[in-house]
Symmetry: C2
Subunit: 428 residues, 2 copies
């Protein structure tokens, strides 16, 4: 009898996995293809902006345009990632299908005119809204809608960074702080893998980062471990966590105070655009606007250059933090994660130079750990380190991500994130 | 006010992390050193047994000796890993300090006379009992005892396999099915890292496994992904999960029926020893007893040989499964994990040969996935794949581990494991 029950259970699981695989194929195809389109457009407009410097002057007008576009076509879509997360926590209102084209278009506009923003928010929203649309077509139950939304997040995230495993774990981990549930992991994993395959099949290439540093430290002839390096990693982990918290706080406050002080509302993105322009001219560089993965100038600050020995301004991370917080807090569209990579990589670079540590390793640690702190997803970020930089330093990845996670507080950049297990609950 | 609260929270966390680091240092030193002693002894007795084949004949007597040793010195310690897990779920009875020497001694005896067993159970019990002893000395509160016990598991597991990150995640993941809480992760990580460093500092080397296979498949000129291989991985994942469930069921049933049918109780290990001896002579090989990491014969079946192109008996995995279930189910001591590695690696090897897949990759997948299925720890096992075999195939690691996890049912080898989120709760 027990064996029978066991077999029935396993047959049910097999059937459900097969069913989910079939459900997920259209999700992955749609999301993977749209993300590929998005990444290709992003590349094109970034190129265009680099060649036509005057486009930056139109940023305030672009902001007003984005404002009215959302007012006209998608008041509900404005909530972005939080809308999708809330829908997973408590299904009800639904995610509008129009969110995908709207966020795609407005992110491209933001990048074309030089807003400082990222990609993952857009990809996640494309994933969530497409998944919800397909769920409506397939008439899925409320419980299934919850899972398909998570697969949409996983597909979007996995495809946009070329890191499917991270995408799948991120989709589970981002929902609540301090706890991860596995129930949707296999569907999420399938979705992220397929979406990444689809995106790559469209000819999209992802930037490769390299950590060349190799540890070769022997203490007292028998301890093969660099304790000093570990301590430096922990110290930086604290800094990365605080930077993540600072970013979340800044963006939240800018959003709140802009709404309070600037009326009418369409003036907010216009003012934001003007501040960005003024900032560029005050600092005398455009390295901190746009995506920031590469820089058009040879000696410019970018994520890629943070991994090399080039000279980087020690406050570069702070400028990027402020530019991004203003861009996203004042009505432009895009993700937060690529700027968080930038902030982390440059902060890691600066701290490494200050402490005499390997620059490429610490740029890599910052890359993943600031993100871990700001989004409260330390396991996904550790896996991202593995997927992007290889396995050699996985221990430092984990230490940096979890330290940052502990020191970033409970705020985070997603207001819809719930507290599963408080960070200092069992500790104090 | 909010900032003040935030700062206070972060200072509290900083203080607690510092405090835990100090608490953990003695735990890591003790556990790391004892595990080093254990691994060294294990190596010595395995060598001794290989050179003196007649030792196997004494296995029944050794079993009786172990039986009376536990009856005299540690009736409570008999519960082993489950005792430690129960103590974490519901602190109360405590973990006897005598558990560590007792399990160390009896595991060594089991291996000296040719029982088929592993190492992790012993290391985890050393970790748990030493941690509990130190907690009593330091007069820690009940909440702290819970965390220090988890650090003990992490330290033992991390040191015994040389995989600290896996050890830390295993300690959190093994407690409940389908959910992972982070609250003790940093202490566990510190404990596992230090214990591994201590263990390595004593001169212990861990076996290295290599997966040389490299994927280089292009479909229709634009899809850089081997779908056929992915399907093979999923099929094998199901097989690995079922093998894990079979092992758990076999061991449970052997334990139950032996207790019911064989009286007096001391006859159980004697009978077990006799069955092992008979099995060795019936099969004409001693490859399935002992640890099984390497074989004394050049063409013998072992974990290492499963990664190579040597001919392996297609039922090798089943023999190992039965030998281990008899050894551990009938009163001998040791862990289950190394035999699970053996079962998985040989089953993976056999399936790879049958399906025309790369043998080393599938041996590696089986290595981690049968373990993932039997202990319900898919995330720890995916990380173990990364720590042992590198990052190239991390996606297949995750797919194999999670498929095995879904198909292994809710039983598992640890009866003290609780169900956090049922495997088919949201799916059906």
């Amino acid at each position: 009898m027990k064996y029978l029950k066991h077999s029935v259970e396993q047959l049910t699981i097999a059937y459900q996995l097969l069913r989910w695989t079939l459900i997920i194929i259209p999700v992955s195809l749609t999301v993977g293809s749209l993300v590929a389109l998005f990444l290709w457009l992003l590349d094109e407009v970034t190129h265009l902006r680099h060649q036509n410097g005057w486009l930056l002057w139109l940023l305030p007008i672009a902001g007003i345009f984005i404002h009215f576009l959302y007012k006209k076509l998608g008041t509900k879509s404005e909530a972005g990632n939080n809308l999708i997360m809330n829908e997973i926590h408590q299904p009800g209102g639904g995610v509008p299908a129009g969110m995908a084209p709207l966020v795609l278009l407005t992110t491209i506009i933001t990048h074309l005119f030089g807003g400082a923003a990222g990609r993952e928010g857009t990809a996640v929203q494309i994933g969530g809204s497409m998944a919800h649309m397909l769920a409506r077509w397939m008439r899925l139950s409320a419980a299934d809608v919850r899972i398909i939304l998570m697969t949409g997040i996983a597909a979007g995230f996995g495809a946009v960074f070329g890191t499917p495993l991270t995408g799948a774990v991120f989709a589970l981990e981002v929902l609540a702080i301090g706890v991860i549930r596995y129930d949707a992991l296999i569907p999420c994993l399938i979705a992220a893998v397929f979406a990444d395959i689809v995106c790559t099949a469209w000819g999209i290439h992802h930037t490769h980062y390299q950590i060349l540093f190799e540890q070769n430290q022997v203490l007292f002839h028998f301890v093969h471990f660099d304790f000093l390096l570990l301590i430096k990693v922990v110290v930086c982990g604290v800094a990365f966590g605080l930077a993540g918290a600072l970013f979340a706080t800044c963006m939240g406050n800018i959003k709140r105070y802009a709404k309070e002080w600037i009326r009418p509302a369409w003036l907010i993105p216009a003012a934001g655009g003007c501040i960005i322009i003024a900032g560029c001219y005050l600092l005398g560089t455009r390295d901190y606007i746009g995506l920031g993965v590469t820089s058009p100038d040879a000696g410019g600050v970018s994520i890629v250059s943070a991994f090399t020995n080039t000279d980087i301004s020690p406050w570069g991370w702070l400028w990027k933090l402020l530019f991004t917080a203003i861009t996203l807090g004042m009505g432009f569209k895009g993700g937060e994660v690529t700027p968080l990579f930038f902030i982390g990589a440059t902060l890691g670079h600066t701290l490494a130079v200050m402490m005499g540590a390997p620059v490429d390793l610490f740029a890599g640690l910052g890359f993943i750990a600031v993100f871990a702190g700001a989004t409260n997803t330390p396991i996904a970020c550790t896996l991202m380190g593995v997927e992007l930089f290889g396995t050699t330093h996985v221990l430092y990845f984990a230490v940096a991500c979890f330290t940052a996670y502990y020191f970033s507080g409970h705020a985070g950049i997603y207001s819809a994130q719930r507290v599963g297990v408080p960070k200092s609950h069992h500790i104090d």
